[in-house]
């Protein structure tokens, strides 16, 4: 909070120094981003909103049909199921990823050489495409030709992707495996921003490592946690590619998250109206969650805002 208090006067001082040029240049600088945002964010969004009031098979004519699609989707038990599955993925992957990436980030924040080497190794999953990861895990987890069968380890010979509960667990595991490095990186940056003097003072007061972690590191990382959580939570609302390749939402509809339900309705069942309704619902949920997390974190925090863009 103190950073903001001191930041504001500094900004106004600079503005006072060059009032005219700065006011003229700023909107220009925002223009490229704005154009992209309008073209790829706002325009498709309006398109989807309009489509949600139509009937269209994706091939023929688009006809307006008022609230038909909305009524159809809202009365469909699949929507509640999709919401529940999405929530499960969101909550479970947050619960797994946050502590793991927090601890890993703190560990990697040290400047020792071996930690730098480990940081590079940990980063590898993030470089792989989700589709490639999904195909690789599909092969590894195959109960007949996979890792377990190949090595003769019976414990690994499970119907990983064919049992509803296991499939959900596998998805949460792979998502976490893939994204923990990214969040660890955010935390690493956050930890390195904490002034050393705080730890030195704590040491003089006789605080141990654990106490330092809970009394200094964790509180200082509050905004980093909120940023990272926002990315996780909003990201899992729209999570699609890995699940699509790995399970197709199966077995049955056990892992059919909302985004997958949207895809299936739109591009497999040729029901663009109901698919657009789901898309609008996804947007609203993502928006609501993002705003909620910002509220929890206090409305303004420059450090977090900068990371949001990443």
């Amino acid at each position: 909070m103190s950073a903001i208090a001191s930041g504001a006067p500094a900004g106004s001082a600079r503005r006072a120094a060059a009032p005219h040029t700065r006011d003229r240049v700023l909107p220009l600088l925002a223009l490229p981003a704005l154009l992209f945002f309008v073209a790829f964010g706002v325009v498709p969004l309006i398109g989807v909103l309009v489509l949600s009031f139509t009937t269209w098979d994706g091939i023929g004519e688009i006809t307006f049909s008022g609230l038909t699609s909305w009524r159809e989707v809202l009365a469909d038990p699949q929507l509640a199921h999709g919401l529940w599955v999405t929530f499960q993925v969101m909550a479970l992957s947050w619960l797994v990823q946050t502590p793991a990436s927090l601890l890993l980030g703190v560990f990697l924040a040290g400047h020792q050489r071996y930690r730098a080497v480990l940081a590079v190794i940990f980063f590898i999953p993030l470089l792989l495409s989700s589709a490639a990861i999904a195909v690789a895990y599909q092969a590894l987890l195959d109960p007949n030709f996979g890792l377990g069968a190949g090595l003769g380890i019976d414990l690994l010979v499970q119907d990983w992707l064919g049992d509803p509960k296991l499939a959900m667990g596998v998805i949460v595991f792979i998502v976490s495996w893939q994204f923990i490095p990214f969040h660890a990186l955010i935390y690493q940056g956050g930890v390195r921003q904490i002034p050393r003097s705080m730890y030195e003072a704590a040491q003089i007061d006789g605080a141990g490592r654990v106490r330092q972690f809970f009394s200094i590191t964790l509180p200082q990382l509050k905004y980093t946690i909120i940023t990272s959580s926002t990315l996780m939570v909003v990201g899992s609302v729209t999570f699609f590619d890995l699940i699509f390749v790995l399970t197709q939402g199966g077995p049955g509809d056990a892992t059919r998250v909302l985004a997958l339900d949207m895809y299936k309705r739109g591009f497999q069942a040729n029901l663009m109206g109901p698919a657009s309704v789901i898309a609008v619902i996804i947007v609203l949920i993502g928006l609501g969650l993002a705003l909620l997390l910002r509220r929890i974190g206090g409305a303004s925090n420059p450090a977090a805002s900068q990371l949001d863009g990443a």
Partner: protein, 441 residues
């Protein structure tokens, strides 16, 4: 302050654009035009998967060599991905000149939207093309008595494959009736071999079981009632009986462990059969060629057995009936340029030749053309070819796969409910109730 609000909006924008981005990424573009060589070019999308992939690429190469003034450009996709991609491309006005498909309900939706050309006048002017095609292949490419899609490729009935090595080891005989099937299941399970291989994640693979059980128990009339839009047709007592039989199989562990996560596009289901991990597999005849390529000496050593789906005791369906693809079908995109359409027609004509027929026979497939009997006999795969030829010709009903016959909307609902049925998460009665809502849609 100004700066901060901007980032916040940008951030929200990022989160908003994600679901749309996903949707957009599904609509790639491969618009009409000219190839890099500058020649007038027609485009076509085909499926991956050997050995058919090479045959199709081969016919394009042959055409391009014989017609140096023009070109056909081919792009390949995986089966399940293609089905989605082509629909999206047609909707977006970005389809290839020549549209590959399976006829039936999907073709009907293209015709209703005016996206494919009527080929009847062209075929009337060129009777030698139509006369060379087997009659049984034409109906699935027709909508309202007009031909919108030309049968090509090969005839693919679904048959019951079995592994003779496994049958020998367990000491049992191939099933003659449905009762035999039910008796064999515990025997194979006791021997540690999966009775049936099944790529359940692809869903249409599970559907083949229902197609045959519906037919053998209740006759083709049960599904025809669904197709014709009769109210509550899925609740027919014979339909419920067939659905119950399938769930009985699942409960008996008749299908390989983990079947609901196996994908047909990766051919793991066939691998289970030729590596002796499964005893039987209900699948399209096209898998014969794939198993011949991938299965070592499994096919050439005579270890692969095949038969038509066995009859069900007391069932009404004729045991000669079969399901599958009467052919694959090529249509011409109505929004292609006249120049491209001309090339497309020349290409289609080049597929109705003995050369093309021979290419299919060479990979153990039954071509859609007449006058191939002598070629079939000379083939190293003569036994299998004769078997499929007899099935295709003697079948009282050679029905199209359900998911191709129905509209895309009804087909997706069907596949969805079939997956749940095999998962035992819905009962036969619930299946019927769910599907009755989609009749006529």
């Amino acid at each position: 302050m100004e700066f901060r609000t901007t980032t916040r909006r940008t951030f929200l924008g990022l989160s908003l654009s994600l679901p749309l981005g996903v949707a957009l990424s599904a609509c790639g573009s491969d618009g009409p035009g000219r190839s890099s060589s500058g020649k007038p070019t027609a485009t076509i999308w085909y499926l991956t998967g050997q050995p058919a992939e090479d045959v199709r690429k081969g016919s394009v190469e042959r055409f391009n060599k014989a017609n140096p003034d023009v070109a056909v450009e081919v792009t390949l996709f995986e089966n399940d991905a293609y089905k989605t991609k082509i629909k999206t491309a047609i909707g977006a006005g970005q389809a290839p000149t020549i549209i590959f498909g399976w006829g039936g309900g999907t073709l009907r939706s293209y015709v209703q939207a005016g996206q494919v050309d009527d080929l009847t006048p062209w075929l009337d002017q060129n009777p030698q093309i139509k006369d060379k095609l087997l009659e049984s292949t034409l109906p699935a490419g027709m909508v309202d008595d007009k031909i919108y899609a030309l049968p090509t490729d090969r005839i693919q009935p679904v048959v019951l494959f079995y592994n003779k090595r496994v049958f020998g080891k367990v000491g049992v005989e191939p099933p003659q009736t449905w009762g035999d099937v039910l008796e064999l299941v515990p025997k194979f399970n006791a021997a540690g071999v999966a009775p049936f291989s099944l790529a359940g994640q692809s869903r249409w693979t599970n559907m083949m079981w229902l197609e045959f059980l519906f037919d053998r128990i209740g006759g083709p009339e049960v599904f025809e009632a669904v197709y014709n839009g009769e109210k509550n047709a899925w609740s027919h007592p014979d339909a419920i009986k067939a659905l119950t039989e399938v769930q009985k199989l699942v409960e008996m562990n008749a299908f390989v462990k983990g079947f609901s996560s196996i994908v047909a596009d990766q051919d793991a289901d066939q691998a289970l059969l030729y590596t002796d991990k499964a005893a039987m597999m209900l699948h399209g005849s096209w898998t014969y060629g794939t198993m011949k390529v991938n299965g070592g000496d499994f096919v050439s050593g005579g270890h692969l057995g095949y038969m038509n789906f066995p009859p069900v005791d007391g069932g009404k369906g004729d045991p000669s009936n079969t399901f599958g693809n009467p052919a694959q079908y090529l249509s011409i995109y109505s929004k292609a340029t006249p120049e491209q359409k001309e090339i497309a027609k020349r290409y289609l004509a080049s597929l109705v030749t003995d050369e093309e027929a021979k290419a299919w026979i060479d990979v153990g497939s039954l071509p859609v053309l007449k006058g191939t009997e002598s070629l079939l006999e000379q083939s190293p795969d003569a036994d299998f070819l004769k078997f499929t030829y007899d099935i295709a010709n003697n079948a009282k009903h050679f029905s199209q796969s359900w998911d191709q016959a129905l509209s895309p909307t009804a087909a997706e609902a069907l596949l969805d409910n079939i997956a749940k049925l095999f998962q035992l998460s819905i009962s036969p009665q619930q299946f019927a109730d769910n599907m009755n809502q989609f009749i006529g849609k």
